[in-house]
Symmetry: C2
Subunit: 215 residues, 2 copies
DNA sequence: TAGATTATTAGAGCCACTCCAGTTATACTG
DNA sequence: CAGTATAACTGGAGTGGCTCTAATAATCTA
């Protein structure tokens, strides 16, 4: 897929490298789309791109990274850093996503394909979490700065993790609906739940509570 | 570690199997504790228990399961199902954990050791998420039943994922503090954040901040 | 064009994990 | 208590992701 960011490569070396990188990803996605992730071996991908398997690992540290790698992060980070200081995280996310909804719509098909892989292939789902954790660390730093707290602050981390997983759940739902409808809207819905304190009764009518939570 | 649940094995076969299973886990934890997870091979573990590597995989589908496996789930499920219908999930969790705090204190050392592994070894952290997802499905079913909604309901899933990840973050914090202090209390703190709608300003006063964010 | 970098490669090797066929130990039946 | 069904255990061969290394080839710098 044509990359949004084409950093005007300098030397032949750089250009060639970038081309190889893209070739690998392209061929890999093609093969994986046809055969499935687990059924596609690194050897096959390497063969398709006409490089040696060794070289594959020069470009991607693992087969997983191949699928995980995307170019949205810098955009998100940049947008996030433009948000005003006092703003609650969930609001920031709403705004950032709103600003990105164009990109999402444009890349809908690709996001769909990759998203499906994420959730269907256990190895990838697992790795996805790793990536999200990195994102969370970043976000924690943002909020910490805004609020003059420590980036390692427990409450901040909780807030971040809540918001991120809510968004992820929205992604899952979106995939579940086969990419029909607006992803951004689903995230907003998920964030509504967050804002409501994750209580069902704030959303629907509560059933007859014989409650009496002791302790 | 002596299992809480000793189901009064019937035949010799069953008893022997259980003993082997425990041996494997015991020896494995010993080796891992001494050498680290990645440095400990299945072959070594098998050798220590005097079984063949093939047999290892008869007992545990993967090396990861070895560390992940625990016996709290049934307890939690049972306690959860006793919670009254209208109760918000975060409240249920608070109560369930309160009821389990005795167990947590008793098994403190083991939980600490395993917890550290979870978060330090990437492969395990990844698998942990898989397990948590299963737990989330279960919880969704509980709430769905209570609230007469569909178990696949988007909002329910969001609520569940929020609460679970908040609790997990509490676990991380607890480990970060080397197991000092009460785990249950940390979970409560995390759930406070959930209840407050994941907003910092509900917790602390918003600062003046010179914001910084340029771009 | 010479020399320093950097990319590419084959090959050997590690380890988790699978599959299979043969053996051995327990359980059940008459 | 023998005989057979059943399930556990085993070695061995194989796969695939991934690492390391040492040699070679391509590109860049001067």
């Amino acid at each position: 897929m044509a990359n949004t960011i084409t950093p005007l490569a300098k030397g032949l070396r750089e250009r060639k490298k970038q081309k190889t990188r893209e070739s690998i990803q392209h061929e890999a996605m093609r093969l994986i789309g046809k055969q499935g992730y687990e059924q596609t071996t690194v050897e096959q991908i390497a063969a398709a791109v006409e490089i040696s398997p060794s070289t594959f690992f020069n470009y991607f540290p693992s087969k997983e990274d191949l699928v995980l790698y995307d170019s949205y992060d810098p955009v998100i980070i940049s947008l996030m850093s433009e948000r005003p200081a006092g703003e609650p995280l969930s609001v920031s996310i709403r705004n950032v996503l709103e600003a990105m909804s164009g990109i999402f719509e444009r890349d809908r098909e690709i996001i769909l394909a990759r998203g499906r892989l994420w959730f269907e292939v256990p190895a990838l789902r697992a790795r996805l979490w790793e990536e999200l954790e990195k994102a969370q660390v970043l976000m924690s730093m943002f909020i910490a700065q805004r609020s003059e707290r420590d980036p390692g602050d427990f409450e901040i981390r909780v807030i971040v993790t809540i918001v991120v997983t809510a968004a992820l759940e929205a992604m899952r739902e979106w995939l579940h609906r086969d990419g029909k409808g607006s992803f951004v809207e689903l995230v907003n819905q998920a964030l509504d739940v967050v804002d409501a304190g994750a209580r069902l009764d704030e959303i629907a009518s509560p059933p007859a509570t014989r409650s009496g939570s002791n302790a």
